[in-house]
Amino acid sequence: MDMIEVKELTRTFTIYERGHTLREVAKSLIRRPMKEVRAVDSISFNISQGELVAFLGPNGAGKSTTLKMLSGVLHPSSGDIRCMGLVPWKQRREYVRKIGAVFGQKSQLLWDIPPSDAFYMNKAIYGVPDKEYKETLDELVELLQVGDIMRKPTRQLSLGERMRCEFIMAMLHRPDLVFLDEPTIGLDMIAKENIRNFIRSMNRKKVTFILTTHDLEEVELLAERVMVINHGRIIVDDTLSGLRKRLGDKKTVRIVTELPVPDELPAGLRIMERIRPFEVELEVDTEILPLRPFISQFNEQFGILDMAIEELPIEAVMKELYSEPDVQSYAAAPVQNLFQVNNGKTRSLD
């Protein structure tokens, strides 16, 4: 059974516009032109229990607004959401008991006092019984290794330490569904790794996570399913490997040759980066030019000295998707109809 069912969800905002000149500012004192912005435009999707779904999209795409409606913070303008059988904005109190949220840019901790005091306050707000609170706290403290820091004032903690404590705040009442809005923003590699390990271990216990981030490495390491939102619409709802294949079956090949590789290459090949005269990074569309003939032909022509083959980086896929200004929803459309390849160059979406 689906944990989250979203149907035709739409949210519009009315924003006031005014110019920056003195005349426009003066005019705006009397009359402010209003504009309706459709932040989320009729999106539908389902999420099952235990999934770890990443919401991706450029700034202002509608990710956070969707997340806010899913968490019951905002009312939608139209459409319907059922999360665990509840309507988030109508049965808010019952619903938020079952969810948690971590915002990379909004802290739930209290700046001047230790996180342990904030945990205690959350215990009372959520009405967590003493025994359950102690068990959960002990487990989370061990998993996130915050035993020695949770009694220091929050302002004395590093960003990484604070984020680990934010996760404890969000998980103390044992939620079934957790919203993560850029949870590792600004963290170093070690801190990110700690947080990711924690998310993975909770996800193994069937906690459902919905993640929004711009960190594509995080998506690759955590998410099984990716939803890409742009201009308020879901333009991709797929697995990560499926998302990659939307640009065709492509590989990145870093290659060192005996002879210099020319700029003009046959169909299916494109130079992504010229590192040195005899070393290039190529994008190989294996649907047009499979790897075996590519290697043998390339070796014959230029003499391969060294070579490394990798999947096409997710950044390349996202860049292509984000750059489309008026892209239509094609979440369910067949892959081969979405792209046309011409002379080894990926063209825009239909």
Partner: protein
């Protein structure tokens, strides 16, 4: 209900710990609040020392009105008026989201979040002033005390309703700190005996904008100047609280968070 009291207890403890993190700030805030609240009574003292007076009111009677006013603020400000300030900042920053994610009534969360122990200084200054004013008047009877206490409840309710009106306004009038000026301007009428105003203004301040209920009516009851008939204010205060709660919840629907 037990859960709500436990919440209050936990928040009280945590906020106190927060205050104690900066003890000198806490002490200084208390002192400044006491000094600020005693400014108007001090002016009243100077007025009476110079031979002038509020017609029909002795110095101690006039100070009693002002003492009740400061006492009412001493309860309202730490416990619920802080929600105006927190709504102001949290709506503007979009951090009000965090309150909506808690499994308690949003209004309660907003009040708890605005709980401010600093403001207990007002309670202290009000208590001192109240004691001083009482020392100069004839001892009130039991009936006077009972009427006073009931009307003081109405006074707190009016301040609670004002907190909700001002805080609710901030969901639409995002980021406007002028709400505090509005509060100060409107309530300043309540620091003086109602009879010094014209009949029309006095009626307006009692029946339309019930500022007179904050201090003048309860103080008059303690002085034996109001009979049991003054208890109509309780019904009036309950009605205003009801309307303010409906208003606040309706305004909450305007909350649109902040970009993120």
């Amino acid at each position: 209900m037990k859960g709500i009291w436990l919440c209050w207890g936990a928040v009280f403890r945590v906020k106190l710990a927060e205050m104690m993190a900066y003890r000198s700030h806490f002490a200084l805030s208390m002192l400044l609040l006491i000094a600020g609240d005693l400014a108007v009574p001090l002016v009243t003292l100077l007025v009476y020392s110079s031979g002038a007076s509020f017609p029909g009111w002795s110095l101690y009677e006039a100070l009693l009105v002002q003492a009740v006013f400061v006492l009412a603020k001493g309860i309202a400000f730490p416990f619920f008026f802080g929600m105006v300030g927190t709504t102001l900042s949290q709506v503007r920053e979009g951090t009000f989201d965090l309150l909506l994610l808690k499994p308690r009534p949003v209004m309660l969360m907003s009040m708890l979040n605005g709980f401010d122990p600093d403001d207990f200084g007002r309670l202290l200054s009000g208590g001192v002033l109240f004691g001083y004013a009482l020392s100069g008047i004839a001892a009130p009877g039991a009936g006077d005390w009972l009427r006073f206490m009931l009307l003081f409840l109405a006074s707190i309710s009016i301040l609670f309703a004002m907190s909700l009106f001002l805080s609710g306004l901030l969901f639409r009038w995002v980021g406007s700190s002028r709400v505090f000026d509005i509060f100060d301007a409107v309530t300043s009428f309540g620091m003086y005996p109602g009879t010094i105003y014209s009949k029309t203004l006095s009626n307006m301040l009692t029946y339309v904008l019930p500022i007179g209920l904050i201090a003048f009516v309860p103080a008059a009851a303690l002085l034996g100047r109001e009979g049991w008939g003054a208890l109509w204010a309780l019904a009036s205060a309950a009605g205003i609280v009801g309307v303010s709660m409906l208003y606040w919840n309706a305004m909450l629907k305007n909350y649109s968070s902040a970009g993120g």
